[in-house]
Assembly symmetry: C2
Homo-oligomer: 358 residues x 2
């Protein structure tokens, strides 16, 4: 989707991806290689003018060396490093007065178990968590047996009203723009975004608070690029930062159709130091992730495609992945509709009609 | 732009283009070759499932043979053939009761000169006219010396109020959808679209008439795909068909941002026999063609890019062409704005700020 957007600006892309069958392989100069390998990243990056990422799990030592050699790397390697480590991330929030759920750091399972006074809590691995992995809820003492036996943290379980997200962009000149707040409904088991609604149905004051937190955070990080800030809105209208991602994000997919500027174009504008685009939302929208149907693995087939294509305002985005497996992200669908009731009905219809099977 | 849209549906594209440096060469399987050569088109088409075109000047004998061998070719070769020949096109309108300017066929310059009673008229070459070439206005007897000396036609010069266009799509099931009427302002010399405004500021009854003509025409052609129908609105509110193009068209570029479904997605839906998309316009829009600045030839550079990127609602589309020359189509810019006055001001600003130089 970044390439689709960059085509409009004549941007020649080169991609480094560990998967030789990556969907973008046919859309750009393509290199297969490990993102976590120093030499691979150095060799790839040396031929680029500007380097950006779409996943945080990348060799930051190589990125830092590329910066030393005069390359532009956005988001900056230091920001990626901070975000790679959920423990460092949380401490950053605490040190910079950014509202977030109370937490304690834990070195291993023993330390988690020793803090049973802290539950109900969320137990998170410090590193390598992604798309719901490395995160679990410890509700009762019995759950303590599941505790991660590696450096991580225990975070107070927030009895939130809604999960919301703000995507904020910042360019080298320091210009900052936020997208309107969206609300997300997560899959109860897989911890993946299942539905998204934009704009979020929340009080104006809460939206302003969330946008201010996102703008403040990107400023304090001194970051260039796009930052997705996932937050809890508590039942008392408090806003707490949950996690962040320094890149285009699932909570911004709907901007392609629903906003004047998409998150992808905004990311490009930010890292190219262009003026940031207008983030105004044009129409209410919903987004449904298209996940591999449980029980199916193999060559992907799309059931119900024609049916959903008949529904006005439905935009299907398939990601071109050849193989499906349960809960793999195979695409997403954005729905735009001026009527909120109709929007919700269409989102449900898409959710229950379009299936990725094999 | 067709590829950009097709990425969302996992469509693997193969492209045949005579220019090895065609902008899409890095976005798809790419073949360099002459579109007018029978063997080249046969060989290329034999490896495809569905074949479509973006320019009419293609070997239709090969396309017909591909159809005989079971390939889907949309628009159908017979439609392309009809449209390749402006004489046949005009006769088709006459035979099918489609309103169009009165005309006479001419075999050579002598015949044009012999019909001086018909001027003021437009003298058109029967074949190979494109983007303003092969069309000239004969206003006075003196102009007759310029008459084309090849099969063509003389068409009554219409003292029109506006030039308008309707893009209509039809799939194999016969489903038909029109995009809202747009109005175009042509460059006085180059005969290229200079500004476009959508929707057209015309009476509702005229818009309905124009849409009905476009729907009727695609039905009578029995065509599958996208048809751009350019029309004159006369001072008395009559609507006359001027020319048509059986493909995504300059008068539909603004649909990428301004409509629920873009003309590119609609073309794909039509030729894949999917349900046609909702054509509703979301916001008023304008489109400015980005033409090579007179006086500059060579490696393209874009003056004023940062300035126009600052304007809310401005979407720049560069076509990735390496070399510019005077009046070459190097891109387009779409502007969306709820306020028509502001829309027009922004279109002017873009027109006078963004320049392709070398």
């Amino acid at each position: 989707m970044l390439i689709q957007s960059g085509i409009d600006f004549n941007i020649p892309f080169a991609i480094l991806d560990p998967d030789a069958n990556a969907p973008c392989a046919s859309l750009a100069e393509f290199h297969t290689g490990k993102l976590t390998d120093f030499d691979t990243v150095m060799q790839f990056g040396s031929a680029c003018d500007i380097i950006t990422i779409e996943i945080e799990n990348v060799n930051t030592a190589a990125l830092k060396e590329l910066v030393r050699r005069g390359k532009k790397v956005f988001p900056q390697p230091e920001v990626i490093e901070l975000i790679q480590d959920k423990r460092a991330q949380k401490q950053f929030y605490r040190n910079h007065g950014i509202p977030t759920a109370d937490f304690i750091l834990t070195a291993n399972a023993e330390e988690v178990k020793a803090n049973k006074h802290f539950i109900p809590a969320v137990n998170k691995l410090g590193r390598e968590g992604y798309d719901g992995r490395g995160v679990q809820i410890l509700r009762t003492e019995a759950d303590l047996s599941k505790a991660f036996d590696a450096p991580g943290l225990l975070e107070k379980l927030i009895d939130f009203e809604k999960e919301i997200s703000v995507i904020v962009a910042r360019n080298e000149k320091g210009e900052i723009k936020t997208f309107p707040v969206v609300e997300m409904v997560f899959h109860p088991v897989q911890n993946l975004v299942e539905y998204l609604f934009a704009p979020a149905q929340i009080p104006e004051a809460v939206a302003k608070k969330a946008e201010a937190i996102a703008s403040g955070l990107i400023t304090q990080l001194n970051m260039v690029g796009l930052l997705a800030v996932e937050m809890f809105m508590t039942k008392t209208g408090e806003v707490l930062v949950n996690e962040v991602a320094p890149r285009p994000h699932n909570s911004g997919h709907q901007t392609i159709e629903a906003n004047i500027t998409s998150q992808y174009e905004q990311h490009l504008r930010a890292i190219l130091n262009l003026p940031l685009g207008d983030t105004t939302q044009i129409m209410p929208s919903a987004m449904v992730n298209l996940l591999g149907e449980p029980g199916f693995s193999g060559l992907a087939q799309y059931q119900g495609f024609d049916e959903v294509m008949q529904v006005p305002g439905v935009h299907v985005h398939l990601y071109g992945k050849k193989l499906t497996k349960p809960f793999r992200k195979m695409g997403h669908v954005t729905i735009v509709d001026h009527d909120l009731g109709s929007l919700r009905k269409k989102a449900d219809l898409v959710k229950h009609t379009l299936k990725v099977i094999a």
